[in-house]
Amino acid sequence: MRDTRTNRILFQIGAILFALIVTTLVLSLAGAQPFAAYKYIMLGAVGSWDVVSNVLVSWVPLLLATSGLLVTFTVGLWNIGIEGQITLGAIFTTWAMRLLQDSGWNPSLILVIAVLAGMLGGTLWALLAGALKTFGGVNEIFGGLGLNFVATALNIWLIFGPWKRPGVASMSGTLPFDRSLWMPIAAGSSRLTPATLVIAIVGIIAVYATIEGTYFGLKLKAVGRNPKSAYILGIPTWQHMMASFAICGVFAGLAGAVQVTAVYHRLIPSISSGYGYLGLMVAMLVGYKASLAAPVALFFAALNVGSIQLPIILKLDSSLAGVLQGTLVLFVILGQGVRTKLLKKTKVSS
């Protein structure tokens, strides 16, 4: 078999079909009607401007997380700590908002500062994972998982402790910010915030341009593919790893800031909404290519939002979206593995 574009695409399509077949089987075994389920997911994701705007709302943090992860994946790192980085971004954003909400400053200025604070929070937390890896020799997966737990604990402590509502500690989070401190919502929608949409789109374009078009991006690639050779070629390896952690942290922090300023308008216990883990899936699914991240993240967001219809209409559990996403990733990666194996078997050699 030859390494061609056509057979790459064929393998991808095959993987997607397999994932659909498996999901359909799971649904049938659960006694549901698979095609009705797919229909309602679709309608729930594109059926009206309202749901489309919900999809976009969910797309923004997911795409931000994915963008950041593409950078760490490029340098060969599994930044599983992104969940904690999103959480810290949200915490820093909330912190800045709490400090400034009664200052009487221009709300736009407060929002800008809050978003910057979120970026800082995400970055610091990511650098911590990077430092553990670089100077402590802790694999970034274990370090990241540990830091995720710490971030969750910190978040819950803040919500139930110092930042609790007057007299009430509630899972529903801190007291919501005044409407003037919400990200401006588009007319005709109840939650779509164009500013965050712009941030996310500019973000993924910047990541794409950086990875594909800059010297820095090329160096990240080199380190990711072979750190030993990259070092011999004169590239400072650990510095580039730290830099990619920092960049991913910026994006994760942005995602956290968006969750606080544009989605929940307060800090809630599960503020990351699992977008970090979902972003890992998106990044794996697109084979770490920035060009495909935006549409695939949009597709995942659509699945998430669309699947809310399942419990409402079909009385099915909405975790079906997760099943579909999981099997998709699994089969696409499996497909890539099989393909690589077939390619290797017939590699040109003499």
Binding site: G161, V168, A169, I185, A187, V202, R266
Partner: protein, 400 residues
């Protein structure tokens, strides 16, 4: 790239408009047909708060012709990450709902946002107090009604049942999170227990231990809240033989059944849902429950015939029969009670019906400061917004 960002900036400017103007009028009457949307915080079959609400809506469907129900359960950010409650409400509107019931205090922020964003949709925020003119958080929204039952009475009844049953004189209260509502309910249970202890059993109130342990939310969220099973175990292992549950789920009953099966006779009192006593036959002393049906029927009818007016209602029991499904907003379903305890419960309900008021001074807050002077009766506001537990109760008054 610069072109794209410019385009989006323009789009932003074009689209942005802060929806500041809220409609000032009541939504138009829905007419003979009404689809009702119900948003529940837990699973619809949780044998607790959410199921009580779900059953209330089933009652509405049976009693009011022309009504239809669409619902979404598990509406909390842990079960449905990335979604907001107002967004879930909108999904129900997309299915035709013209009246949306947000059935948890936990949804207050999102329900307000929803009501503001959708002035044409009727909204019921169960257990909220935003439409209470005399309340502290008055925020008039013409399309919103607050509904709550006077559970305080039934918690008192539960307290009586517990005090009449305990052999060790130690009653545990498995509390959810700490807020006005949960403080007043825990305190009510204490008032009932103390009343029975002193007046029926003629015992020294100082010998009655009443301890509240909060888990942090209405139900268990692993890793976030304390584990209610663990808390119940701690109670039973440290001499408490009756646990009154204040949470939406039935761990206390399950644990009591387990301990009793192992030969250590203990009891529990579940909460919210009338059939919750089925969970632990023989260990459940009874259940104080909500009967949302009648209040929801009234609200639904007013939305259909155009008599809707935003208001707050705090509905009491029908003292003629606290378990009348058509008239009583709260009730107490007796379970395994001794003859004496059962008689005491009946007697106590009778006394309440005749005007017995336990929210009368002298009553002190937990920290010893005066809550009610001698003979002073508490106002509804004082009870609703109870700032502390009462003197004589152990446990946290405010979350630290």
């Amino acid at each position: 790239m610069r072109d794209i960002s410019k385009l989006f900036l323009l789009l932003t400017i074009a689209l942005v408009a802060v929806s500041g103007a809220f409609a000032q009028s009541t939504p138009p009457a829905a007419g003979p047909n009404l689809t009702i949307g119900l948003v529940m915080v837990g699973p619809y079959n949780d044998h607790g708060w959410s199921q009580a609400n779900y059953d209330g809506l089933q009652y509405v469907l049976a009693k009011v012709p022309g009504t239809k129900l669409v619902y979404i359960d598990k509406a909390n950010s842990a079960d449905r990450p990335g979604t907001t409650v107002s967004q879930l409400g909108e999904s129900l509107v997309a299915q035709g709902a013209k009246l949306v019931i947000f059935s948890s205090d936990d949804m207050t922020d999102e329900a307000i946002k929803f009501a503001q964003d959708h002035p044409d949709i009727f909204v019921i925020l169960t257990s909220g107090s935003q439409q209470w003119k005399e309340g502290k958080n008055y925020l008039p929204l013409p399309n919103m009604i607050n509904v709550m039952g006077r559970m305080e009475y039934m918690k008192m009844v539960a307290g009586v049942a517990a005090a009449m049953t305990t052999k060790t004189g130690k009653i545990g209260f498995l509390g959810p999170l700490i807020n006005d509502e949960t403080r007043r309910l825990a305190s009510s249970a204490y008032l009932g227990a103390r009343y029975a202890w002193v007046n029926y059993l003629k015992k020294d109130p100082a010998k009655l231990t009443f301890k509240v342990t909060w888990i942090g939310f209405w139900f268990n969220i692993p890793g976030v809240t304390s584990d209610p099973t663990q808390v119940a175990d701690d109670f039973f292992n440290s001499g408490f033989d009756v646990v009154i549950s204040g949470i939406d789920t039935t761990e206390a009953v399950a644990e009591a059944a387990k301990y009793t099966a192992q030969g250590k006779q203990v009891w529990a009192i579940p909460y919210d849902y009338s059939k919750a006593i089925d969970e632990g036959k023989g260990v459940s002393l009874g259940v104080p429950y909500f009967n949302w049906g009648p209040a929801y029927v009234n609200a639904v009818k007013s939305a259909m015939n155009g008599t809707w007016k935003n208001h707050f209602e705090w509905n009491g029991p029908d003292w003629k029969n606290i378990n009348n499904p058509d008239t009583s907003a709260v009730g107490f379903n007796k379970g395994t009670l001794s003859k004496d305890a059962s008689a005491a419960v009946d007697k106590f309900v009778g006394e309440l019906g005749k005007g017995l008021n336990l929210w009368v001074g002298p009553l002190n807050y937990q920290d010893g400061t005066v809550f009610l002077k001698n003979k002073e009766k508490a106002t509804d506001q004082q009870i609703w917004y109870l700032p502390q537990l009462l003197q004589g109760m152990e446990g946290q008054s405010v979350s630290k």
